[in-house]
């Protein structure tokens, strides 16, 4: 299962230890993202979509904890088990192999630094040597062959860990390096279709509109050409017209950057517009995953069916799912959807259905399709 995928999540269990009780946020989530595809992760508020994405980067906020499960990343022919990696190695993955964009871009940008500083930071974290090289070349071209600046850069390339280098770096103004970074930042901003990149680079987050800020965050995420981009409801708080712009941009960028995208949303419309495959989540489980055409055409899981039916259609009666989303402190036993399900059977109340492949590439967790084996 892991061979053809870029990222594979297996049986992930995450719990939040709050004062009110233990929230069983993820209850054995299975997910895989293939290279180059857009996987839509759809579900209602609190179903664990975001927690899943934060788990992949090991960024589950306290009081949350990953209890069980494996997360594999296939990179450069190697398979990495993210959960067992040391902290430093995970940091190398964050932003470089897997980058992330968020629901409220302005809140996810630090209010006291300019756009340029924040994008530049990502560049200098993962592509420092590349820029040092560029800066040295630029200095050589300018004829400053033996300047202090150049020597500092060379030391930073060769002995980045030595104390002397660090002290020298502190005292050097690193003008050329910053100029190189600035060039790249402007280039990145231009690639996300920001009209006036030079000006925007110097702006603070609060000066940007929502759409502009989201573009800046996308530029930041793409700065190291990640293998995978996690997009956590990136257009939810944007207006429809701006959402359409961002969706177009994401489509374009996929063509140029060839990253896979894990696109998290609660909007089935966006899923239908953008994604190749869909995974549906309910109350901490992935209940169904399939090709987008197949899922919309022939959904198998009762929840998916009900969800698709609850999309309002003009001239028709509104169809709703009875009951409410269960609390994840003491969630229902067995299948978590059973008390709202019209096909509820005895077994559903007792045993949690397995997530199995019913047709080719179509997975369901439901006792109706033999999930109890």
């Amino acid at each position: 299962m892991t061979e053809d995928s870029l990222v594979a999540v297996k049986n992930l269990v995450v719990k939040f230890y709050t004062y009110a009780g233990v929230v069983e946020a993820l209850d054995g989530v299975n997910l895989k993202i293939r290279p180059g595809e857009i996987l839509g992760l759809v579900g209602e508020t609190g179903c664990g979509k975001s927690v899943t994405s934060f788990s992949i980067l090991q960024l589950v906020p306290p009081p949350g904890r990953i209890e069980e499960g494996e997360i594999y990343l296939n990179v450069g022919g190697k398979t990495l088990d993210i959960r067992s990696l040391p902290k430093d190695a995970i940091r190398q993955i964050r932003g470089k192999d897997i980058a992330m964009i968020f629901q409220e871009p302005r809140a996810y940008l630090n209010p006291v630094y300019t756009v340029e500083t924040q994008i530049g930071e990502a560049l200098l974290t993962h592509r420092k040597n590349e820029f040092l090289q560029k800066a040295i070349e630029a200095l050589e071209k300018a004829g400053k062959k033996s300047s202090f600046e150049k020597r500092v850069y060379e030391r930073m390339l060769k002995k980045p860990k030595s104390l002397v280098t660090k002290i020298m770096a502190k005292f050097c103004r690193k003008k050329t390096l910053m100029k190189e970074v600035h060039k790249e930042v402007v280039e990145l901003l231009r690639s996300v279709e920001i009209a006036d990149p030079e000006r925007v680079a110097k702006m603070y987050p609060f000066e940007l509109s929502g759409g502009m800020a989201q573009r800046a965050v996308i530029a930041m995420a793409l700065s190291c050409q990640p293998l995978m981009l996690i997009a956590d409801e990136p257009t939810t708080n944007l207006d429809v017209t701006v959402q359409a712009q961002i969706l177009n941009l994401v489509r374009e960028l996929r063509k140029t950057f060839k990253s896979s995208i894990l696109y998290i949303t609660h909007d089935l419309g966006v899923i239908a517009e953008l994604c190749d495959r869909v995974a549906v989540m309910y109350a901490g489980n992935v209940v169904e995953s399939a090709d987008v055409y197949e899922l919309f055409e022939a959904p198998l899981h009762p929840y998916t069916k009900a969800l698709l039916e609850s999309i309002p259609k003009p001239g028709e009666e509104f169809k709703s799912i009875p009951g409410t989303v269960p609390s994840l402190i003491n969630p229902p036993k067995g299948c978590r959807f059973h008390d709202r399900c019209q096909y509820e059977m005895d077994v559903c109340r007792k045993i949690k259905p397995e997530f199995i492949e019913v047709k080719k590439d179509h997975f369901v967790a439901c006792h109706l399709y033999g999930g109890s084996k």
């Binding site: 209602e44 429809v240 359409a244 966006v270 609850s310 003009p314 509104f318 799912i321």
Partner: protein, 350 residues
Amino acid sequence: MSSIITIRNLKKHYPIFGGVFKRRVASVKAVDGVSLNIFKGETFGLVGESGCGKTTLGKTILRLLKPDAGNIFFDVPESIINEVIELERTNPKSKRLKLLRSQYDIATFSGERLLRLRRRMQIVYQDPTTSLDPRMLVKDIVAEPLVAQGIAKGEEARKLVVDILKKVGLGEQHLYRFPHEFSGGQRQRIAIARALVCRPEFVVLDEPTSSVDVSVRAQLLNLFKDLQKELNLTYMFISHDLSIVECISDRVAIMYLGKINELAPTYKIFKNPMHPYSQALIASVPIPDPKKRKERAPLTGEVPSPVNPPAGCRFHPRCPLVMDVCRKEEPQLFEVEKDHYVACFAVAKR
């Protein structure tokens, strides 16, 4: 059909203070000259992107905000409305106009008279977590309008409360609980019960479903429809979600930067949007069917600030059909076909 709400040229500007002495330096023109009427018993959809002033418009009609200019008539005979409009045009300083306005125009009301109006028009807010007082029990929350307006109290109020709670799908067992003990959908039902307990005729629904989940949303929408039939309500349904508005409203107005761009019966506006903004807006809505996937050129740019809206037609900097006249003059709403109003020079030229 007679209208229950008629507003004429309504304006609401929020001041911005600045400078050394905190003087008014500018204003956010949230609602800037809106005229419309809402018919008895209909659901009037108000659509627009964030910051276009749709919520402000709703709250100003309810007089939760004081308008800066314009008239608001609530259940006033048409002859009087016409007389006021005529007088305002011909003789704006006449005593008769003053008298009529102080008697009928709720834009001028205050104090006791406004209070009496409160039981006839109500509002349901977007987010029930913030619109229900966290330190009050459900019974007190729902009974509040009754007690505050002296309609009923004690046992009598309790009966009315239970009655309305049952109507919104809750029951007596929920009386002695705090709002935070409920799920989002149930909380919104409590808010609806509060709005309806004094049996209003007109209710503003301010994005009532945007804070609840898709699976619960339909339950609420059905509840709105049922209650409308049962209690003879008129709704003003404010939303940014066009797919819901399309399903629930009888007529729809599309707002952009404090102005109404297009107003028409729902089927007309969604089948045949005329204003370039309406066209772009409707085209931008993602369709939940992968087979209908299509490449489309989205609208460029973003909504300008309502502090300094563009001169002329406010949409002109983003409009694909922009002409010279759009930059200078403001287009007025006119009837293109029966009941279909558009404010656009390009449409007018056609």
